[in-house]
């Protein structure tokens, strides 16, 4: 179960609440490998201390989403949308 992953659709609720729009169909560019991917296609490790999304091409971390009660923080310095 450690390596259990889902996809970016699983982050869509927190992202929509935080950003005010659905982003599953939007593309971002990985800051590590430069390749573009849909948010829906990101590889998400849902059970880390907070959900972590990785680039489906190179596997590097592109997004970390923390959600505590109603406070949501989206770190995506390495994913340009």
């Amino acid at each position: 179960m450690e390596d259990f992953t889902v996809d970016g659709n699983a982050l869509a609720g927190a992202l929509a609440q935080s950003l005010g729009r659905d982003v599953t169909g939007e593309r971002g560019t990985c800051g590590h490998c430069g390749k573009a991917s849909l948010v829906a296609e990101l590889v998400v490790y849902p059970k880390a201390p907070s959900p972590v999304a990785r680039c489906p091409h190179c596997g590097d971390v592109v997004m970390v989403v923390t959600e505590i009660s109603d406070t949501i923080t989206v770190h995506m310095d390495t994913y340009a949308m």
């Binding site: 996809d7 699983a10 869509a12 929509a16 659905d22 599953t24 829906a40």
Partner: protein, 246 residues
């Protein structure tokens, strides 16, 4: 604090359980009354949040099982033993209980009706749930889009919505692929979805079907690769991957 929410901004809302319906040994459908629900599109999902007495919160995503036209919002939950959320939803919830929901979520893995192209769906295990919502939407709107569902389950006993799928509307073909065990007289597909099955059931790329694949990672990966290899435009191959939602 729901009243303080900004208009149009996705936030948590309360829903009341109307009924809990068993589907298979591991799955149940929660029929919900969500007074603030603004409607959804077939294929979308919701987040469900549970709060313990000490304030600890856990949340999981579940696909919406109902069509937008249905009277109630429905979620089908697969119980994962030792899970944090699903055993509560499947075993403890009773009519009248309340849940916190956030949704509808997702604008990508949705099917809103005929685009002049056939609808080709692949569901693995409980990955059939959002596809069932699409079929119900198709039926409720009398959409005549030809639709095919390939549904991979371990055994006949694990097939969710079996009766409903067996009496699908005109123009809908349902193909069950049983991967672990099957009745002796089983005439459907035995084993995993393979190229021979796709040769039989998948429209060629020239028919530009809208393709939806939902299920565990390995299932989605295997089928989406095959479909792209068969010449389907990756943009028309929409996927939703999940694993056991504990």
């Amino acid at each position: 604090m729901a009243g303080a929410a900004l208009p149009g901004r996705l936030t948590w809302q309360l829903a009341r359980v109307v009924e809990v319906t068993p589907e298979t040994a591991q799955t149940k459908t929660l029929v919900l009354d969500a007074p603030d629900w603004a409607g959804h599109r077939a294929g979308q999902h919701v987040d469900v949040r549970l709060t313990a007495e000490d304030g600890y919160q856990a949340q999981r995503s579940y696909s919406i099982a109902s069509a937008p036209e249905d009277d109630h919002l429905m979620l089908t939950v697969e119980e994962i033993p030792d899970g944090e959320v699903s055993p509560y939803l499947a075993e403890e919830l009773r009519a009248g209980d309340e849940l916190e929901l956030r949704g509808p979520i997702g604008g990508w893995f949705v099917w809103e009706g005929s685009e002049g192209a056939p609808l080709l769906m692949f569901g693995g295990g409980s990955g059939v749930v959002p596809l069932r919502a699409m079929l119900r939407h198709r039926a409720a709107t009398s959409d005549s889009t030809p639709a095919r569902l390939v549904y991979s389950a371990r055994s006949l006993q694990d097939v969710i919505y079996r009766e409903e799928l067996e009496r699908s509307a005109d123009g809908v073909e349902v193909c069950l692929a049983l991967t672990r065990s099957w009745p002796e007289d089983w005439t459907g597909h035995r084993g995993r979805v393979n190229d021979a099955l796709l040769d039989d059931i998948a429209w060629p790329a020239s028919d530009t079907p809208a393709i939806y694949i939902c299920g565990p990672n390995g299932f989605v990966e295997a089928i989406s690769r095959r479909m792209v290899a068969r010449g389907h435009d990756p943009v028309r191959v929409k996927t939703e991957r999940f694993g056991p939602s504990s």
